[in-house]
Symmetry: C3
Subunit: 241 residues, 3 copies
């Protein structure tokens, strides 16, 4: 049995994983889903990437979690890489789940297509508080394309504006590249958040991991909502040894 720590992506908070946690626990695993600093509703969004990382490190250390399978979804991939540098001795395996794997010295924004960056810049400027909110139309068509409209709406209601600074911070990842922690890449094949092909998640992001275990399932970027049963099964396979 494993101990999973699930790190959510942009706009989400830890509550996004509830149905997945239920599945993991039903199979006898432990699972935790901290909310990254500056994420969730009604909190101060004035955070940078280092603060985001530190909040997850603090959570794991304060609960004294060990031998963990650390999962990062989307933006969460940039967090778990830095968490792994900080507390590598507590981590048994990293799972990047349709997640960014940054090269040393890059930001998340360096890895998104020009038209996405332009839209993000514009939304951040208009926000007044350096955040980006995802338009519902994009959520429905590109993020959660495998759900019905009702689920698209109810899951959207759980989101909140994303702090923009963590997408802009360039990360020092020299240490990460040499960590001996085993890694998996879990890829959902209908994910269109990064356009498939040259800018896609896989194999562009996954191949940066060096040796990694590749696990694949059908579904959108948001299978924690649209297929939590299937996602939990694949997480267990990705992290089983």
């Amino acid at each position: 049995m494993s101990t999973f720590v699930l790190v959510h992506g942009s706009w989400h908070d830890g509550s996004a994983w509830q149905a997945v946690i239920d599945q993991l626990e039903a199979k006898g695993h432990h699972a935790f889903a901290p909310t990254i600093a500056g994420h969730g509703k009604g909190v101060n969004k004035n955070v940078n990437h280092a603060q985001c990382t530190q909040s997850i490190v603090d959570y794991i250390v304060s609960k004294d979690l060990n031998d963990i399978v650390l999962v990062g979804h989307s933006f969460g991939g940039t967090i778990i890489a830095k968490v792994a540098e900080a507390i590598s001795n507590r981590i048994r395996r990293l799972i990047f789940f349709n997640a960014f794997v940054l090269n040393d010295g890059e930001s998340l924004n360096d890895n998104t297509p020009p038209h996405s960056q332009a839209l993000s810049d514009q939304l951040a400027r208009q926000s007044g508080d350096h955040t980006v909110m995802l338009p519902f139309e994009i959520w429905r068509e590109v993020f959660i394309n495998d759900a019905d409209l009702e689920l698209a709406r109810s899951s959207y209601a759980q989101l909140s504006p994303q702090a923009y600074q963590p997408w802009l911070d360039k990360l020092d990842l020299k240490q990460f590249c040499s960590l001996p922690i085993p890694k998996s890449y879990l890829y959902c094949t209908e994910d269109n958040v990064l356009p498939q092909g040259d800018w896609g998640w896989h194999p562009r992001m996954s191949s940066r991991l060096g040796l990694f275990r590749f696990v694949q399932m059908s579904g959108s970027h948001e299978v924690m909502f649209s297929n939590p049963v299937g996602l939990a099964e694949k997480m267990i396979a990705a992290g089983r040894d």
Copy 2:
């Protein structure tokens, strides 16, 4: 419940959709499958692309269909783009199903690999009436690779020579690119009619749609024959809102 209008591809006529229509109607939807002008057995094949388009526009207008989900398969993708320009107010969503999405000013032939173009040119010259008939061997191996030989033969018997001119006509699609109609791309993952990779359907064609809903299923180019149940389900998901 939705109203589907299904536009077939080259060599086919409206009867190709019969099993899919049965499925859609069994789920409570309405479905129509017009035959494009110059297509089907025993008709005059001397048509151009504009005449093909007009025949579908006329069908929809004469039946006074509204709020439709307009599906185009393969060559049919080039038709629905022009139909959408003509009667955008009648269309709720476009579904490109393993379909050509042309750039403004291009023809279908501009989007096929050189060896395919050469074969088409040769077959059209040899035909005597500027048509192209698909050799059975290519149909069986490349179009309907997921069927048994019996189904490959019975479905082939439904085909008829394809008018070549509509593949050569360069389309003015400036208006299409700015239409606000929602779009989906439905992709069958064993389709080898366009060779997967640089010349493939997805993401090459799909990415030209801008914002689109991506839906995927296993199967060949001809799942309307080999898996009409699965295809109807995915069409419903692709067009549900």
Copy 3:
């Protein structure tokens, strides 16, 4: 009903196919799984590619097998191409199953990424007998990523060091390119032995076949161990006519 001859890949011997053979025979087919010369435990590993090929030719001729569906897995793809040149009249169809399809004049090693070649060179030098043994970590993560650890270990115990010379030999394949034998490519979508993308199995290798039947299933490079039931079904579909 068909007669299958299954040609294994590197490190394997004919016993790797046992569960698949059981499935094929249960469906009424005949199936044979010769061991390539210089492969298997406790044999002389001093062989070149021509000797490997000849051993399979001899096997088929000595058993007087005809109208066969000849399957090559991985390295076995380089063998069946040369076997097809030698005894084309005995072969009904070739199935390349996550297999190398070499261009005329190339070796297997010419088709692997630089870092893989460097590792192979190093392992061969260190071996003392010009063989390469696959490290367990790579087997578990990259070859049999869809299995549990127990199956990863038990299947690894069946492997033996691979003769290196057959990977280095440049093959004359001019005759193969013009053989009229029908061909299929069977691709497992979680195979990460060749990194997906520019260096991947499909469509890089498959497209070299010219006209071919494309069949796809989920699974790793080693589905003969992790999913023999599914593999047998897809082989039957790939070879049914």
